[in-house]
Symmetry: C3
């Protein structure tokens, strides 16, 4: 048995296993760890009622996946360090209780508390008008809502798998369809995979155009870090070729774009657009490290898949969400109309697909943090960073 | 025991039987079939979670009713032929996950995949502004959304019944309330009835004004046919007195209004308004037949109840929904304001009700199809069809 | 064991007891009654599916609390008299089926049928524009919806308690969070408490600002009375210092502001703003009594906590909701922008809280009704009522 899998949910078969748990006790031995497990539970109470949680625990790192919320990663733990942040929204929210159109299209924020969620697939970025064909084929103005729909669509298919190859691998795959007649027809197929006993996990995603016509899409990973990685004097370390403030507010602190401040009541978010350096094959990485450089989280991805990188600094008071977002994406989270003009909205042919891979690693020692920093420095070496002190027309809509 | 019934759901009593199944094994023998059954299941997984399905199987024809979606008919089968269509929305959607206001009021399309659903009851037709009294009695502009609310309201009462009279009859009745304070107060009482071993079912609906004041309503049956009835060179056969294109797009193909093309990527819908001939007592029928005329589905109804008939051609690529809608209704699916001006929005007095009956028959042989065609020809005989090549002011708003 | 408590729901622990019931049979004896109980059920069927109901029965008065609907009080009974009203919305509605933005921001009315619900917490009053900071810190126009969100947010924590002190006390406490990133962060902690064998209950609420910055809030109790308390010639008895009609419609009947008419088809609501007299410590009360003065319901509260009092007359046809609302509140239910200008929107510091207490008593005899009237007369004595025949600028926006 090199690999075994279990279908946890399949709406097409009206199948939903609950509860579900698999661990070493069930007869599979993995080289990398003994105390691994995959478990499913369903949340009860308040707006969490009905939210499906699949926890994947490799014996060292564990993470809770939310099939009900578009396969987002709620929170995790590795080497005793919590992965996630303290959102004002305390627990996962069933999309049935999220009205994305609320508060001028910001309703998405009433469900936002994941360590990592996706923004897309038809669009991401702020609320704003777009022009789409309606059912009669007429161009029609419609309001896009903040960060799109994918984080509020439940997966209709969920599968868990265990492989005994190498040190052993655990994985969970989900399929989420964002579709309607006369509208988007985009599928997300997402796998979270982690080796037994390791300090990392990989997200392997595929966006598939289910339609018979070409379709745009946008995909952004909103990876959100709180304490203990974020703290005063924590730093973002990235192989920056170019960085620009989103707006005047971000420009105020461009000199400190890579350093974080303390929780500050009334702080208004600062967003920085980055164009990262990468290895010749496109691979790059970024690191968030704490002040003392002995704790960090890094993201590895390929610029050919995720060319745009955004840093969201939101060091509000703890009660309001002290957090930073590291956001590799196909685009910058501007309005879709602006991104389209900049040529940053990919188009998939009928049946076409787009694959991305994103690795998150947890560095729990100074040595591990230093190793990541050195790797970033090596990529940076040939690319002196260009820091724009003012917003740039290629990255930000300057007229409003 | 000529007739027996079971209450499956009654919110007033907090009663909900699940699962439920009744068949010959339970002791009731029907003349028309031995393998009949009525079964309820609840869907799990993705946006289908919590959708109640009641399948009524007369031994030859079966159909899945969706109490959770306003008593729509999801899909069926008769003589081995599938009844329904392949929507981009793969499975029934719990209304909790449908935001009808989304995408400029087209959010209804994110839940649309039924073989037959109702559009109404307060309004149907495209999104658009209407003026209604608010709680303070002031005329207030409000946005109506595509095809109204009834398809996204769960039935609060569901009953199954079996009668041994004649060849035996199976039926399922549901009650759905579309109501709010200071707003619509309309009840749908719907029965789906089918004789054991037959190739047909009848939908018997009653719309009841629950209010203490007179109330408008609109009711349209959106009966949606895919393969094998719809295919290239399939035809709509109807006793047409008058047919007019909805708009310029439909006018392009007015000469082929009754013939279907192949799946066509990027096809924009074409809609034709029809004024049908009928027998002296109002009865009429329409038929969709395949290219070879050996498979068909017909709809029988009474023009006194459902005076307007609309054909929706939507021969998009298979992936996008290759489908046609046959739509008997109280009105044409224009904006309610336009229909009101044309005198096509019925008004019910306090406590008043409106009854409709709609029979769907499946014709699985050339002989059966020919019989339906002959019946239509007999109604047509005295009424030479008038084909308008351009949109008509009585049927379409021409100024926009 | 002077006091014992049970956690019925705690989302933080993923705990949800269902069913739950506690009564004398479980071993606790109360002085005031033998047939007391606290019971939880979950509703099934239609839009009520999933609504949690906790009934608290003191042996004489019972009331059904709706944790799923922001701890509203659905309906009750005392001395054989029904507490509540006949809304066109027959049963409690799961917020998953309420789109508060529907019908021009009046969607709240599709879920409104409680004996008592709260309007707030970020805002109450009619739909209308407000200007709030968006995530980028920019002032942004947003549409507030009728009466805010709190009545459509499920409690994430519910606890029942029984105390043997005195005659014995039953209570149910719930916690409801109205929160989102970059938006409101307001918590309602609500306790309903009633003494065994008594004819009254007390609602003890606390609104807590969870944010790290100062926050506005609005809180209104919408207590809604139908028959047998409301009937033709029923009266509202209140220690009125000042009363003003909301608008021209209310001014039509200012001379009869305290007397109710019969059910009237097409009646348009009349709303009266009141400034009540109170005892030196702020305590005051109002009474709704039937025509013969032998049945009544009174509300006691403190003007220092709830300075504004509104009477909503809505004597529509029975089918449309024959009801009156008695509404003690922090503000009058005008638009939040207007109330802010009048200085009637309280602001809580970070972590600050605001406590209110509201007692509802049922008077089932003429003697009891008379006693309440005498108490009101005593408060009234030193304050001759001033009746404004026209809307007043301090209470109503006169320009629209």
């Amino acid at each position: 048995m090199p690999s075994q899998s279990w279908v946890l949910t399949d709406a097409a078969q009206n199948l939903h296993l609950e509860p579900f748990a698999i661990s070493e006790k069930d007869g599979t031995r993995l080289e990398g760890a003994t105390n691994w497990a995959i478990r499913r539970t369903t949340l009860r109470g308040g707006v969490s009622t009905g939210v499906d949680v699949v926890e994947i625990d490799n014996g060292r790192l564990k993470v809770s996946i939310l099939p009900t919320r578009g396969m987002g990663l709620w929170r995790g733990e590795c080497d005793g360090l919590p992965l996630g942040w303290q959102s004002p929204v305390a627990r996962p929210v069933n999309p049935a209780f999220v009205n994305v159109m609320d508060r001028g299209g910001l309703g998405w924020l009433a469900g936002f508390n994941e360590w990592l969620c996706r923004c897309g697939l038809d669009s991401n970025g702020p609320p704003g008008e777009d022009v789409v064909p309606n059912n009669e084929g007429h161009p029609t103005r419609t309001e896009l809502t903040l960060h799109g729909r994918i984080a509020n669509i439940p997966a209709h298919y969920v599968e868990a798998a265990v492989s005994t190859e190498g040190r052993g691998t655990l994985s969970v795959t989900g399929i989420v369809d964002e579709c309607m007649l006369f509208g988007p027809g985009l599928r997300l197929k997402s796998t979270v995979r982690t080796d037994a006993g390791s300090n990392r996990l990989t997200i392997i995603d595929e966006v598939i155009n289910l339609r018979g016509v070409a379709s745009e899409f946008e995909l952004l990973y909103h990876a959100n870090m709180g304490r203990p990685f974020l703290e005063p004097e924590a730093q973002i370390v990235a192989p920056v070729m170019e960085v620009a403030p989103r707006d005047g507010r971000a420009a105020e602190s461009i000199g400190q774009y890579n350093v974080y401040g303390p929780p500050t009541a009334g702080y208004v978010e600062q967003v920085f657009w980055m164009n990262l350096a990468a290895a010749p094959d496109g691979r790059t990485l970024v690191l968030l490290r704490n002040a003392h450089g002995d704790k960090g989280v890094s993201l590895r991805f390929n610029k050919r898949e995720l060319p745009c990188f955004t840093v969201w600094k939101n060091t509000q008071a703890e009660a309001d969400g002290y957090v930073t977002g590291l956001e590799p994406a196909t685009n910058y989270p501007n309005s879709k109309t602006f991104e389209r003009k900049q040529g940053r909205v990919p188009v998939l042919p009928p049946g076409g697909s787009y694959k991305t891979s994103l690795e998150l690693s947890v560095h729990a020692t100074a040595r591990d943090v230093t190793a990541a920093e050195q790797e970033i420095a090596a990529i940076q070496k040939l690319h002196p960073p260009q820091v724009h002190t003012q917003p740039q027309a290629r990255y930000s809509r300057l007229d409003g």
